[in-house]
């Protein structure tokens, strides 16, 4: 498969990139690591006349501890994040999740920004031109009906990024810049929850960094994912759990976020409500099982990502349960150590 023809911009500074993005609007697509956009361009899902590569820009890569927290440049590679001692010390769940994405060679060039802002996926959408011709134009490509669920007027494409559930669970914020202005939003607000246009980001906006806020209390988090194989594949279900524990071992904040669970990462509010306010040691078998069952209910699944929806819903529960158990175990370890 070959890339379609395009004209390439290789700006050296963020300002140049932003200026180009505001001039060329949606005729221009941004290339970070090239592991995600490349596939879609080769399949002719998108054929932008202009491509802007971020590879020469230095100001948006790297890991730095600042007063507000840990700042990850948007074009930091997943390998760097997985290997960083700073990330392992402060947010081991982020390091672990980054190390589980795809495969080593993809992580060596794939960026955290690119992983976060990836397009939704669907077996019927992620195909080259010939099979798509037979299927007819689907909702996501501007047609009238979904191809995965015939006749459905809502896009069933799935958000399968690994980092998003984790970043949302730990309360991360994204810094988006455009020529002349910037905005900082919680990562969860980057997602529309809608398959056709899954991201709340304008064509002239560039994600430059992700801030992981460091809190003073005890917290622990875990991420569990399952793909068809042990490597390379996108997750078919995943769950990130974050627990912040305050005085008297009371869970001050609990967040359960599912991945590959619909058009965007899904926050399982019922599970949060169930656990928040209890003492960590009181989150026993029955509470944990109930929380996991909420995850299963929150999971949206249709038959468009290889495994059957019923199995994926069970997976969501099982993975949420395992992530919760691991987070609780880490909380108890900290308490026993301290």
């Amino acid at each position: 498969m070959h890339f379609p023809r395009f004209q390439l911009f290789s700006p050296a500074t963020i300002e140049d990139a932003l200026s180009l993005m505001s001039t060329y609007g949606d005729t221009l697509k941004v290339l970070a690591g090239g592991t995600e956009l490349a596939g879609r361009m080769k399949q002719r899902l998108v054929s932008p006349p202009y491509v802007l590569t971020l590879k020469r820009i230095k100001g948006i890569t790297g890991i730095e501890r600042k007063r507000e927290g840990l700042v990850l440049g948007a074009t930091t590679t997943l390998t760097e994040i997985a290997a960083s001692q700073l990330v392992k010390d402060l947010f081991p769940v982020v390091s672990a999740a980054a190390g589980e994405v795809a495969a080593p060679a993809i992580r060596n060039v794939g960026t955290i920004g690119g992983n976060l802002l990836q397009e939704n996926r669907c077996l019927f959408y992620n195909q080259s031109e010939l099979p798509r011709k037979g299927l007819g134009t689907c909702l996501k490509l501007g047609g009238k009906e979904c191809n995965a669920v015939r006749g459905m007027k809502r896009c069933a494409s799935v958000y399968q990024g690994d980092l998003a559930p984790v970043l949302i669970a730990v309360g991360a914020k994204a810094l988006l810049k455009r020529a002349g202005s910037r905005r900082s939003v919680p990562v969860r607000e980057l997602f529309t929850g809608e398959g056709k246009r899954p991201l709340n980001i304008a064509p002239d906006e560039l994600l430059t960094e992700i801030l992981l806020p460091v809190s003073s209390g005890t917290s622990a988090a875990a991420y569990k994912r399952l793909g068809l194989r042990g490597s390379i594949d996108y997750p078919l279900a995943s769950a990130a759990v974050f627990l912040a524990v305050g005085a008297n071992d009371v869970v001050a904040d609990a967040r359960v976020v599912l991945g590959a669970a619909g058009a965007g990462p899904k926050i399982v509010k019922q599970a949060s409500d169930l656990i928040t306010g209890r003492r960590a040691q009181d989150v026993d078998e029955s509470v944990a099982q109930k929380a996991a069952s909420f995850a299963s209910k929150e999971m949206e699944a249709v038959d468009n990502v290889i495994l059957p929806p019923t199995y994926r819903r069970s997976l969501a529960a099982a993975l949420a349960r395992r992530a919760l158990d691991e987070a609780l175990r880490k909380v108890r370890e900290v308490h026993h150590a301290g």
Partner: protein
């Protein structure tokens, strides 16, 4: 179904221009002249000449090939907007670029279209066909090369972006006809059947052993987890890498 005249002549997709689409071809004579004049003293290989015959291109055709669609407002003039608008000079887009690629410690100066991947340039222009292309979307690993020592999918890397990096392909491992120890180990341990995954596997193994000379079996399996093999079932490959690292494999 609408069919363009191009399809009537040949079955190549319209945007793949290996001599089949005369309108978009660059004149070969110019290319060589440009390249030879600025050939760096250290380059050992001659400039690769395209196999297709030189084609004349009318001024209009040349203009059409590089004309941008008139959809963007306030288009800056190429490279010289500073003179008129007072804004900083913003680099112009390119649809092709002369790049210096350093492959296996040799330098090659090439005129590369923006949309060509490193895999295509290595195979088609430099005739280094050890690097394979299978899935073409980064999932199989047959296109793996080393960029500054790190395994990377060359099918996903634009050739222009590989400038300034140290590129290692499978052809760069053997020295003076003598196989690299990892290559030897693959041969000795029957880790090669059809051979298609082999270049990517060996380069991935080299990257592993260069940073972790005594890997555990798990570390080996994790390192090659991005390289698919349909023939061997991986057992012999893991053994070969263990042998190359000096750790005897368990039998």
């Amino acid at each position: 179904m609408r069919r363009s005249a191009k399809y009537a002549r040949c079955t190549m997709p319209a945007d793949r221009t290996r001599g089949h689409n005369k309108k978009k071809r660059k004149p070969a004579a110019n290319k060589n002249a440009l390249a030879k004049r600025s050939k760096p003293p250290t380059a050992k290989k001659s400039i690769k000449e395209p196999r297709r015959p030189a084609a004349k291109k009318s001024a209009r055709a040349r203009a059409a090939a590089t004309r941008r669609p008139a959809v963007a407002k306030d288009l800056p003039k190429s490279g010289r907007s500073g003179a008129n608008t007072g804004k900083a000079i913003v680099p112009a887009p390119v649809d092709e670029q002369r790049v210096l690629l350093r492959v296996n410690k040799e330098e090659h100066e090439l005129l590369v279209p923006a949309h060509r991947t490193l895999a295509e340039v290595l195979r088609d222009d430099l005739h280094l066909t050890g690097t394979k292309e299978s899935c073409s979307e980064g999932a199989c690993g047959t296109c793996t090369v080393l960029i500054d020592g790190l395994p990377v999918r060359s099918c996903l890397l634009l050739a222009i972006e590989a400038e300034g990096k140290e590129i290692t392909t499978i052809e760069g491992l053997a020295e003076g006809g003598k196989l690299h120890p990892i290559q030897e180990a693959f041969v000795e341990h029957f880790a090669i059947q059809c051979g298609f995954c082999t270049p990517g596997m060996i380069l991935t193994a080299k990257a592993l052993l260069d940073t972790n000379p005594q890997p555990t079996e798990k570390e080996i399996r994790d390192a090659i987890s991005g390289n698919v093999c349909r023939c061997t079932g991986y057992a012999k490959i893991v053994e070969a890498i263990q042998a190359a690292s000096g750790t005897p494999g368990s039998r």
